[in-house]
Every structure is written in C-alpha cells, then in structure tokens.
Amino acid sequence: MSNKKLVKYEYLRRLSLERRYRKSKEKRKQRNRGKKFQRTSYETSTREPTYQPVSEYTIHAGTTFSIFEDPESVIKLVNEIDSYKKNDHRLRRIQIDLSDITSIDIGAITFLLAKVNEMNKIKRIQIWGNTPKDPKCQKVFSDSGFLDYMRELSGHKFERHSDNYLISIGSDRTLNEKVGKSIQNAIKNLTSTRDHYPPVFSIVQEMCSNSVEHANNDRINKNWFFGISFEKEGTEQTPVIIFTMTDVGYGILKTIKRKFATKIKELMENKSDYDILHRAYQKQYQSKTEEINRNRGLPRIFDMMEKSYIKDLKVITNNVLLDFDHFDNSKMLTKNLPGTFYYWKIDLNCIEIWNQTSIN
C-alpha cells in the first residue's frame, strides 16, 4: 500500500473514532440526566419523616426508685433503657413511666439522668416521660435538677424551684473550673462566704481523673454528673450539703488490677467483692496501667473520709454497695451497675475539722 493511501485511511479512522466518542458522550449525558432526576426524587421521599417507621416502648420504674433502698430496681431500669441501644434503623420513642413511684432518692435520679443523657446522643432514639404522682417524690424529683436537662412537650424549659443542681461533665475532659466554682457556691450555703473547700474539689478531681483514665475510648460519650443538693437533717435541722458523682462507664472493680497470687489468696480467704473494693481504697492493688506512680486517687478519697472532712461516704459500683461509715450496711448486689455512683455529705462540723487541720 502506498504512503498516500495509508495517510487517508488513518485520517478516516480518526474521524470515525471521534464521531463514535461524541455519540457515546451524548448518550452518557442523557443517561445521567435521567439518573440524576431519579436519585433526587428518591432521596427526597426517604427524607420525609412521615415515612419513617416509629417503634414505641414504655419502661415502668415500679414503686421503689431508690439507689440505697433498692439498688437492683435502679440497675434494672438503667439496663432496660440501655438495651434499646441495639442497632436498629427505626426511630425509637421510649417512655419512662415514673408515675407509680412512692420512694425515690437523688442517686437514682442522677443515674437515670446520666443514662437518658447518654441515650439522647444516639440518633433515632427519643426519650420522654412523666413525673411521680406521689407529692413527696414529685418534690424530690423536681428539686433535684433533673428537669434542667429536659424540656416540656411544648418545647419550653422547666421552671427552677430549688438551689440544687446537677452539673453535666459529659465529655472526656475534666471541668476543673466549673466544678471548683460550683463547690464555692455550695459552701456559701453553710458558711455564708464563698470559700474553696479543697477536700471536695480533690475528691471530684480524683473521681473524674479515674473515669477519664479508664474510660473506654470506643464509648460515644463519657458521661458524668456531679450533683449538689441542700438538705436539713435531724431534729435540729442541721444544714448539710449532699454531693453525688455519677459515672456511666465500667465501674471500679473492672479497673483495678490484682496480681494472680493475690486473686488466689483472696479466693482462699473467701473475700467478697466488697472486701476487694474496700481494699482498693486502701491502696492494696495496682492500677490497670501498672505504673508504679499510680493508684493514689482511691486512697485519697478514703483518707478524706477517715479524717472526717466528709461524711456518710457511700459508693455503688458493679455488684457492690460499700458504705464506709456503716460497713455492716455494705452488700453485694444481684445485678451489675454499669458504672459508679458516689454519695457523700459535708456539714459545718466537717469544715471546722478541715480548718483546724490546715496550718494557717
């Protein structure tokens, strides 16, 4: 074949290729135009909330909702709420029915709040509920600070009726300043002056640090509530400040490390979990980090109680209720609390002892 013919064929071949390319480009454009239209209309229809299936659930709290009287009832409720976390694409609306409650305490309320707060951060779960019908329980519930985190069905915030408050520290960082200032404000209720009270600040920092240190990084939210409430106790109506710290997490027993030999020894001596927990506060075990310089936090909390800078310290964690002031009241629970709950009080006497110990 001559060179002239070769050039001609090559020219024709290129022309044909370009034509085919232009045609296919046009076809592609047309096809995509159709798809674009289809995709948009499809997405719009699924975004429409009225088409979403909604599952309604009701959880009844029963008559006793007190972490000290009947911790199992609180654990049962919290675990039941937790069971709705399961992966479900449907919208779930959970009602918590508190109407029949005749016995309630601040511990149960803060634990419920911590769990509700955790669940509210999960998409496609809506939690709502009612308040106790019993007037005394309703007052305790309304005064606790729980409603500060809720809204009325109309969307408005609830009105505050007391000085009590619950501070959410629901993140993976400690909020030193917020905690410190709220303690100063609380102390003013006892001493009339806005003073620091280092024993309580230290205790809260130790609890937060412990929680931050051992919290699982996979958890969506580290979820704590620091509660402050004011009461008058006894016939003389002595004013006291009640502090609570609620941490929805793993619990202390799962964060302490016992050597194998210690475990065997304790098994032989028939040590119960509350003996083990008590020993953890006396620095008998290692921290899970296994670093030599760790594990000072729990002994520090115990020390504050031993020196009477705080009183009535109680802790509920995993399957143990430990009452430091009345060890006989400590007991094993039949259910596992997923986290830790602390409760302690201070009165003027505690502050007096603290002031005497400090060298001024």
């Binding site: 400690t174 909020l175 030193n176 300043e177 410190g180 303690i183 937060c208 931050v212 240190e213 310089n293």
Partner: protein
C-alpha cells in the same frame, strides 16, 4: 523574696488545677510542668537558688496533677537534684508535701532508672534535662 530562694505559686498558674495529662483537661500536671515548672527550676539551678513551690491558694488538687508535674521534674533532673533544690509550702494541706517527698519523688526516681519515659499527650516546646551533669534543652523523646 529571700536572696537564695526563688518562688513559684501554683495558684498563679491556675486557681483550679486539673488532671494528669493535657488531653484530659485544662491546666493539667503535664502542662504545668512544661509551661512553668521545668523552666523555673532551670532558672533556680542556674542561679544557685532553691525553688520554693507554693501549693496553697488553689481550689484543691487531684493527686495525679502533682504526680505528673513533680514526677516529670524528677525524671528530667533526678531525685537528688530535685530534693536538694526545692522547698514545698503546703500549709493548707500538709499531706501533699508528705506525698511529694515520700511517694512521688522515690517512685519517679525508680521510673527514671528503668527509663520508663513519661507519656506526652501533646507536643511541647524544648525543655531542660540534666544529662551527665549538663543541662541540655531540647524536645526529648
């Protein structure tokens, strides 16, 4: 100020000291060490003065704050250098002074000997360390 003393007041750093590590919260022990204590201790050493560290005046402490701050100091300068060059004032809570001198310093000296380096949860500027009797400033591992 006495002529042979140099003073660091923790309340000037923060009225509300925080947790152990920077990632855990504001005003942590790690941050205090790297932004204040290391530099102040170096100045005191350079000027042949003792560094007085005052713990009073804050809202309180978590033990982990003090552990991380004083622990890093021991790790970088050794327990002997630290013990002979600091004075701790803790009139409000004398227990802290006892804990630093009797627990934190010996525990961290043991870590130093085992070369268990302290955890750093954020990047820090260069800091001083005593290496073979010489003060060297750099970003250490």
């Amino acid at each position: 100020m006495e002529p042979n003393k140099y003073k660091l007041i923790i309340a000037d750093y923060s009225e509300y000291p925080g947790p152990r590590y920077c990632i855990q919260g504001d005003h942590s022990g790690e941050d205090f060490y790297h932004t204040r204590l290391n530099g102040e201790f170096f100045i005191a050493l350079e000027n042949h003065m003792k560094l007085t560290i005052e713990l009073d005046g804050t809202a309180g402490f978590a033990s982990s704050f003090l552990d991380e701050a004083f622990g890093n100091l021991v790790f970088d300068f050794s327990s002997d250098t630290v013990k002979s060059n600091i004075i701790i004032i803790s009139n409000q809570e004398p227990d802290w002074k006892e804990m630093i001198m009797n627990n934190i310093i010996p525990d961290w000296e043991s870590r130093r000997k085992k070369k268990e380096t302290p955890k750093k949860t954020q990047e820090h500027n260069e800091w001083y360390r005593l290496e073979n009797g010489t003060l060297i400033k750099k970003v250490w591992d």
